[in-house]
Subunit: 405 residues, 2 copies
């Protein structure tokens, strides 16, 4: 009998317990022996549940119980999750988590502690909710060099942008609607300012390229400054505006990694990702482009990813899975200004003035005497220098993903 | 040191050896020890390769060498692959294969032999080429009940249909182009008659629902009879015609499984799958819809899936992976006539006559006095009976996937 503990009984935690008990028979069969939840840690009371007797308010009950071999952390946030997870791993328990903040902030350290204690640290649910991505990515890796990852990793912002694209709503109205529907929090900053996407692309980049990428070390731009008119102009030019997490191998020693809104051509599958769905495109040198698509959040999709990891942890007691990355390397992530991209620009100037920039670009007239154009693919610093030197008034500027398929 | 043997040095076999040696260092690291190819079985000579010394023309060299622990079967076809694979598994070797014909025809038996000998039988590359699908599906399973699978599983037919949809080419012209480009074989029957898709959906259905589904037990319709005019009419009505493999859980004891061309609404992501790409939609009760997308064929995508399985086999020497299904059950797959679907119909009759069928349907006039309509979702036998009873001349009839998202 393998005993597990679940820390946190919020949305994901309660979903995890529910999915676990619904499938306990097949889970036990997979694990080759009976598996049960011994403790559920939460400070709140949950009377009247079929498993109400399993609740505890004390982490000590879990850490002092030698029977508990696998601990599930679904509390969220860094404190006390970080401390608890460290102590569980150090004491020889495998840990499963859905906590992207924790993995993005301390992944390398926790993976090292897991390795040193011959246990596993698994986090499939931290990116993409119910979409299998961490495991396929890690299993692709040995037979592939990953060159590029581009993902729509946050359903809330994708919903808001889709309402702007398809229904002509302003950002503020679309955000209000998302809040009414329960897709966005009362304080939507983690979503709309790009922090959630940033954490997720950091996790994927760490896994794909082998060194920890910390969220505060990468460029992160949200969607709060996007004007409806630019979304509409982009659509006319053949692009959807999406908030993306993007990571690319530059050389063996350098990567680029960032979060920003970008114009995606309609010919690219990522442009058609609807509403609260997520999609992650991975480019491998042998596989070519592979895309994973599904609900990136929600109680049961996320819980099902947690339970898949629980099974994996129970099947690999005393055996190591190969998920690992090293701690961060200095000057590993190139700064934005060195990154090569094209920009969509809306400027106040005459058509001829705009078209002569960058040695001639195609321009389109827009309302209020504005001009639209798309720059060639160049280093960002060179594009910015050219725009600055021209003296024309730049009213909007968004990156264009021409290269990522 | 783990020694492996590769049987077959065709497109996938040579790609596998190439990807293996390119990544040998990281493969060995993942497997926790050195891994090398000891034999490559092929009747042809391949002089001048860096690994020419490894070739053998005799299967006996492999089966009699106790050092060989993992055998890779990339010969294709049933004979001698079936016999060789059985003997490898029976003698305690794990087997990795890309051979969909073999898995679809003998999967249950080979999985049983693998289990009885405490070895693994892995076949990620048999469906979806480089798209990870077998492993995510099997790992999703314990935490999810799979309800439905709908896939574009054959790149050749998808290319042909896309040329009809987008460029107005006839089937014959599109097939010729596919042959010129090397996407279709000189004898294209396995692709255009649906056999390839049929084998793949049988493998996915066997894995998802737990009992072997044999290719000759399911309805299989190819694309050779599709008229360009129906592709064009479907497009006007808001649908793309795609060849799909489809499997659905009807109850705990019954499934539906079939291969046919179907009209997919443009709102469905499967409708936008381009050219030689594959996409597989899996509906789980907890995850909701998850889609996997990528190149479904080709030397390196397929080889990379084979190599991922080689790594898995080497990491699990003497340990069982949980991929398994039972042999077929009687009356398990319901016949097509019991399946509920809508049909697109092109008929020679007047608009009123058509609209009164099925208690009133929306009709559209087409050329040559034809009428188009889409039936309600009903059992196929009831739709066919109603059409027969009406006495009107049916000129084309294709299933419509309204239900699968």
């Amino acid at each position: 009998m393998i005993k597990i503990a679940v820390m946190g009984h919020g949305v994901v935690g309660s979903g995890t317990v529910e999915v676990f008990y619904k499938n306990r028979e097949s889970i036990s069969k997979k694990c080759g022996g009976d598996v049960d939840i011994k403790y559920i840690l939460d400070l709140r009371d949950f009377p009247g549940l079929p498993y109400s007797d399993k609740f505890t308010k004390s982490f000590d009950d879990i850490i002092n119980d030698g029977e508990v071999k696998v601990v599930v952390e679904v509390m969220g946030g860094l404190n006390p999750a970080y401390d608890y997870v460290k102590r569980c791993l150090s004491s020889g328990r495998s840990v499963v988590t859905s906590n992207k903040e924790l993995v993005a902030a301390h992944g390398a350290e926790l993976l090292r502690i897991a390795r040193d204690n011959n246990v596993n640290f698994l986090f499939e649910a931290s990116v993409g909710g119910g979409i299998p991505i961490i495991r396929p990515l890690s299993q692709c890796l040995a037979a592939n060099s990953i060159d590029e990852i581009c993902g729509i990793l946050n359903g809330t912002t994708n919903f808001i942008l889709n309402k702007m694209i398809n229904d002509g709503m302003s950002f503020d109205d679309a955000l209000s609607l998302a809040q009414q529907l329960g897709y966005a929090e009362r304080n939507p900053s983690a979503d709309v300012d790009g922090f959630d996407t940033c954490r997720k692309i950091c996790i994927l980049a760490s896994l794909a390229f082998g060194y920890h990428v910390y969220p505060d070390g990468i460029y992160t731009e949200g969607i709060t400054n996007i004007k409806l008119e630019d979304v509409v102009y982009a659509k006319k030019l053949g692009y959807a505006v999406k908030l993306i997490g993007y990571a690319k191998r530059i050389s063996n020693d350098k990567i680029f990694c960032a979060t920003y809104p970008a114009l995606i051509p309609f010919s690219n599958s990522l442009s058609t990702v609807d509403d609260v769905f997520n999609a992650i495109m991975v480019k491998g040198d042998a596989t070519g482009d592979v895309m994973f698509y599904g609900k990136g959040a929600g109680k049961f999709p996320t819980a099902s990813a947690v339970v898949a990891d629980i099974i994996d942890a129970c099947m690999h007691i005393n055996r190591r899975k190969s998920i690992f990355w090293e701690d961060a390397k200095k000057d590993y992530v190139i700064p934005c200004e060195e990154h090569e991209t094209a920009f969509y620009v809306r400027a106040k100037c005459d058509l001829g003035e705009a078209s002569r920039l960058f040695g001639g670009v195609k321009t389109s007239p827009a309302e209020n005497g504005d001009v639209l154009f798309i720059t060639p693919v160049m280093k960002e610093k060179d594009i910015n220098a050219a725009l600055d030197a021209s003296g024309i008034e730049i009213k909007a500027k968004l990156r264009v993903m021409e290269q990522a398929v």
